[in-house]
Amino acid sequence: MFGHKAKGNYAYAVARVKAKKAYLIGNDTYQKMLLMSLPEISRYISECGYMKEITELTSKFDGVDLIEHATYMNMARVLRSILNSTNGELHDTLAKYLEKWDIWNLKVILRGKSFGLDADGIREDLIPAGNLDSTFLNKLVSLETGEEVLDHCKNIGKVIPVEVIETYNKENNLAIIEDFLDKYRYEQLLSSINPLSKPTQLYQDFIRREIDITNIETILKLKMEGVYGNNIMKYIIPGGKDISKKLVVRLANAETLSATVDDLAQLSFYEDIKEALDTNTKSLKDVMIGMKKYKMKKTQSFSYLHPLSIIPIIDYMIRKENEVNNIRIIARGIESGLDKDIIGGLLVI
């Protein structure tokens, strides 16, 4: 009213996601699922809210593909239904957060185009949970080349700078575009948050911590591959909370992983990854799982602090994505014949 944008229907949206949260698969259930076969998992998840998607896709896919596609389709529908049930500033903020999936879809399309995948193959891997609807995504998929896709993205305000496209064309390296898109998304997301109230400050903190986690993942992965110095710095996303530029440079320049431990000890999530760093320096799997657990723990505690804010909704979205990832890990693990303990160790619970 009078040109002032409404704050949004926080009470309605938060109550809805809290009710949805009660339907998420519990930690004990994952242990039961580890003992099931693939058809049993399909049947079981169809009783846990995935019925519509399993029924819809059962004639097209089977086994692990059915589970993967059904869970992704369900997640996309759930996230979009939450977005569609909100209004005002809440809707705008949520839409900005869900751009994550637009970037994901754009990357999938670009990868598909660069590897010469057919339109149907690309379409199967899309997760339309963001702002771009199926019609627009289909249009992008139907374009011939990656350049045309990038050009068409100008219509939705995603302008890739000429120099980035030129470097991509010269080096024929898709990672350049992908890195740009990731940095662009966080830059846009952070600039869209107006930290005037405590909940928006917490939301901004959460996003900045997410940037820290992504940066630490990048640094550790590259360090495992023996990359350091400026080669790491170009992949770092600016805007993190705990990790200053100075610390990033120090972490990037450290020659070994063990030399970074003292610097990592300054981070707020060090306690969650400490054990994994101490016991297993050859694999980063446990460190990544530790950081994911930290992220979930943080959003949950923030959501209790401010129940009528965007944070409980983000908390649910992260948990839903985690549920889908856990189901996929179990399904893929069982299909590959992995030991139950190994699969169990990969789950984020």
Binding site: A11, A15, R16, K20
Partner: protein, 70 residues
């Protein structure tokens, strides 16, 4: 004169508590509908929570009656 002021006081007591109950019910009602959209079984709990702010109006009404009768 006194009767007129008492009537104004009684009106304020009921009116303000009515507005307060309305403001409280706005969020409680929206949350109850949101929860019921996902789980119909929450109707009973939603209904109880929905009528709780009505007690404020009852207090206002009692105060108004006391003013008028006194």
């Amino acid at each position: 004169m006194d009767e007129g002021l008492a009537a104004i006081g009684a009106g304020i007591a009921v009116g303000l508590t009515g507005i307060a109950a309305g403001l409280a019910e706005k969020d409680v009602g929206a949350a109850a509908i949101g929860a019921m959209t996902e789980n119909e079984n929450l109707f009973g709990k939603g209904m109880i929570l929905m009528v709780l702010p009505e007690t404020i109006v009852i207090f206002g009404l009692v105060v108004a009656i006391l003013i008028i009768m006194g």
